[in-house]
Symmetry: D2
Subunit: 362 residues, 4 copies
Amino acid sequence: MRIALVGATGYGGSEALRLLRARTDIELVWVGSDRLAGRKVGDELPQFGTSHIGELRFSPLAELRLMQDIDIVLLALPHGEARIWAPQLLARGLRVIDFSGDYRLPDAMYAQWYGKELPEDRVAQSAVYGLPELYREEIRTASLVANPGCYATCAELALLPLVEAGLVDDSRLVIDAKSGVSGAGKAPSSGTHFVEVQESVRAYKVGAHQHTPEIEQVLADGRRRRRGQRANEGVGEEITTREVRVMLTTQLLPIKRGIYVTAYASLGTTMSGQELQEVYRERYDREPFVQVLQPGVIPEIRYTVGTNLCQIGVHVDQRTQTALVMATIDNLGKGAAGQALQNLNLMMGLPEDTGLRIEPWV
Amino acid sequence: MRIALVGATGYGGSEALRLLRARTDIELVWVGSDRLAGRKVGDELPQFGTSHIGELRFSPLAELRLMQDIDIVLLALPHGEARIWAPQLLARGLRVIDFSGDYRLPDAMYAQWYGKELPEDRVAQSAVYGLPELYREEIRTASLVANPGCYATCAELALLPLVEAGLVDDSRLVIDAKSGVSGAGKAPSSGTHFVEVQESVRAYKVGAHQHTPEIEQVLADGRRRRRGQRANEGVGEEITTREVRVMLTTQLLPIKRGIYVTAYASLGTTMSGQELQEVYRERYDREPFVQVLQPGVIPEIRYTVGTNLCQIGVHVDQRTQTALVMATIDNLGKGAAGQALQNLNLMMGLPEDTGLRIEPWV
Amino acid sequence: MRIALVGATGYGGSEALRLLRARTDIELVWVGSDRLAGRKVGDELPQFGTSHIGELRFSPLAELRLMQDIDIVLLALPHGEARIWAPQLLARGLRVIDFSGDYRLPDAMYAQWYGKELPEDRVAQSAVYGLPELYREEIRTASLVANPGCYATCAELALLPLVEAGLVDDSRLVIDAKSGVSGAGKAPSSGTHFVEVQESVRAYKVGAHQHTPEIEQVLADGRRRRRGQRANEGVGEEITTREVRVMLTTQLLPIKRGIYVTAYASLGTTMSGQELQEVYRERYDREPFVQVLQPGVIPEIRYTVGTNLCQIGVHVDQRTQTALVMATIDNLGKGAAGQALQNLNLMMGLPEDTGLRIEPWV
Amino acid sequence: MRIALVGATGYGGSEALRLLRARTDIELVWVGSDRLAGRKVGDELPQFGTSHIGELRFSPLAELRLMQDIDIVLLALPHGEARIWAPQLLARGLRVIDFSGDYRLPDAMYAQWYGKELPEDRVAQSAVYGLPELYREEIRTASLVANPGCYATCAELALLPLVEAGLVDDSRLVIDAKSGVSGAGKAPSSGTHFVEVQESVRAYKVGAHQHTPEIEQVLADGRRRRRGQRANEGVGEEITTREVRVMLTTQLLPIKRGIYVTAYASLGTTMSGQELQEVYRERYDREPFVQVLQPGVIPEIRYTVGTNLCQIGVHVDQRTQTALVMATIDNLGKGAAGQALQNLNLMMGLPEDTGLRIEPWV
């Protein structure tokens, strides 16, 4: 299998390199960067100084125009740039996994939340949202996969079982999310300066984070699918026309990697923590990368860092009739590169966990 | 003014020493510790190696039995121990500020949430909860002040204006709280080991944190007082019998000091962020240590560390009709020693901010 | 006393603001910044949001040209810029403390180590190096004080007693120095990005750090003075023509503030740790901000952060006949703003420790 | 191949588990712990919750008395305990790799530096010091390998080429070493408490660290071997009777993992940095895990964390005729478990880098 990677020097792209390095079934044949064209990967990214990947040289992006004999192209570019390259690649029969937000939302919604217009793009309609836990079958045959956002992945996995099962008021879901600094990208800024981040925490983009509509869309679709499925099974069910609405608060943590989501939802019915856990366990029973923790075991970011895991703990607060879901991922793992490689495995018909059974960096 | 401090070696007690060191109007005449009796403060706490406080010697607690000519005794002891000493001190006419949870809750509630019984104690009835923003007048004349818990202080200041104004569903308040490691105390444990804490975050005591009833009690009392006040003003108001209920999630951050609270409440009515901010600004207008930030300015832990400040930012999420309140304090400042000295100032009739106008450790 | 501060938004300048804030004997009347001219200090530096200093507005630097009725101007500007302003200020009779390297070295040496030429400047001859422990008397009457570099301060205080006493081979002094990230300045860069710094350490400017000649010059001058003094006392002494030479290695630590120096010197004679400590204790006996620790007590960075202290511990390794000196300072305290205010106190005839008796941020 | 591991819950043992987990050629059949006997590995070490290793159950150490059909036993026990078990295992024909200091030093020297006596032990004579870069051939056939200390490994690899080549005054080598907190072990203590470590650095065991004689012994042996080799080659050489002497300063860093060594040595002859680098490059040319960096590239801890690499950068300071060697390792990788598995590979006749080609945790 032959793979190309565009944008290898950002944190998401570098993590993809790390995961690809360990694969013997995949050949990374091309790594793209205009800024670094001609330089060796190992010179720019010293962590690959001792591996064959470090010997690769960056190629200019213009070469994408002629690219052939490549199974899948991973695009790890800034928002807006995948719309330039993906249509060309698809037109020549290549398949694409895009790390950016370019193909995750309807264009109008993108414009609203990202604050800029995307060029119109016919391939956008064909994009499949790359969350295997909801769209596994579609991903297998997709030409274009929109790899989910990091916060979005964690929040969606945290809330899907509750929303699908119709157990909560899904018009007022609260998602309190915290992320390590690598989520803010590699470009230096005042907001990522060590002295400004260390020994502190702050919220940002309050009420305006672009993953908000992404989460709502996926949760709503999960609800719709589940109800369709039940209808097919002949289970009558009250139809809701209520929109799924989440309030997402994103906060910056003084750590390098990892996301911690605590999601709160008002329960419509009385249920025990045990019962809630059963809902989650059943939902994720066969998922290789979603781990529902034993009752009383609480997720910690460090047990997912470096992996493709999402760890989930649930709790019912009887006093306020509130379900609490705690979920952790590595923002560069299940939140970016790990999930991309999970999608790649699906697209290539490989066992889904190939190259992704990795211990965390404890 | 003559002061005694018991339990100076814990993080709360040490911070009290630091704040007292800068005071010229207060004489710290006695520092108690059985374990260190006879040793110099500066030998145990090198940060005082160059100040007069470092020259003081620890005295055995038994001396408390004879203590006289002391205006106020600060008790910074483990939970359960203030009940041993406070009654004796009060009986001899001394006034006490207690850092622990011993006098914050009714005994039955304490037993339920702390998991152990407190000895019965007649002085408990007279204890005043040391949150000046609600109980300023009572504190001035109190003999025994129960200094609030760190999470409790931050959550109460975050939610009091909303609850008092009757703007939200106060039977389902969500408090997502994160704290630095000093909140876990100085005793070494697996949970405070650097390697186990660094580069991670985890929740703990989920649904069971002992500050939960403390917060509920204070919010309910704030609501009651406000309604009594309105009734006196002739403003008719619907009486609610609903209990105030909070769901508190506490999480450990890889920082030394500081608390970040994000509190979520369902708004009963439509209102703008501007309007909500006005509610807060009005409520805390004359408070020397509660700072309601300008719209768009978001609290950061680091701007309160080392100070007695509580910084608050508010936001209304129109899509979910949810009020978000972000509040930060230093858990050892406004969450412990700073607030204790604020209470001490009130008790002694001093300007409330004496010795507490300090810049944060940025 | 009226003071002006130019360059308040860098880390050194902000720390000067923090220390000035607490002074009642000094009036900070002018704060300069071209970029922020017209804006309030508290808007740019939220840590001053609740103090009178936050109410000050930045003024354009052009106003320096007309400045009068100012006792001392603190220049906290990037290297090279003090040479523009200091001559003008001195010409009008104002006194200047410069935080930069502009007046610390002979011009030729500056050009060699800083890699650029400074404009010639007649006032440079009159500059006094602002290390009170060596140049106290000269500082009192100086018009222009060159405030020492952070690494330089720590290394000089660590080694002066050894070199002055002629106890070591001072042609091969090894200085292994580590600094927090604030030493690298506030401008965002790849090298100060949280993700690139956290959980790592690296050396930089190996063998080429610009504080190298500054340290050598001061140590050599200390040696010369001490020998002159002994000669005056009639103590005959072998004259050495050997140059003082240091090998300085600077390393970046994942902390915000603080410097840790371990200095190694070959002892010419056999001596005990006790004897070495006696040399240091005697040398720094009357120094308000140099603390020679008890035998067996080892310096920790955290006990100097936020203060103007330099803490020193000494050790003799008998097996290699090597003297080890460990020294810590806050790079923004004794390494910049603290020392500047110590110099200011001296220049104004105030008690040297005015406003500088502060507890560390433990 | 069948392996047993004793002491899997410490940081070194856990890292060995992590490295073993990825091996398909090794079967870990037994994991020992008296305290946890009967419990599952995954319950104690959640990082193995999703792997087959997590399903293993701890067995009591008494079972070691009967152990058979095991190729190699890894002992990761506190100092002093290997002396209890290793002789019994060797007597039954099993081979042992010991992580502790029990077999690294002559008994008298151990007693002097570790401050306690070890029981006499006949197998001690047969122990081979597990530094493949010096003792590769002996390790292949060894029954008992003494895995080197973490500081020792880093310092030895940093200095061996200089000492072997006779380029420096090896009676006064200075080793300034810094380590992450995992080097202090998993047992909670005041010295590993997050609040006491974060935002600080301090030296410890000054002049008394137990790795001092370990380093001296290995450097001296390297010198002896090299000279023997030259003698055999007919190269006459002045014989030195001087002892190798190092002054080792160990310092605690606020990071989880990693060692940074800066070693300083007085050069006997004039040489350029280029020439020095050539010495290192030649010495480590065929070493799979020692990477001599290009001139101007400086080691960073993060590029070795999670790996078995030692990265080395060299510099000659012409002004002081001093060689500076900077070396980094992961104290749990090349400093413990990684090196143990490198030794295991050698003992089993496997390619030396089997299972050890891993990217760092950047």
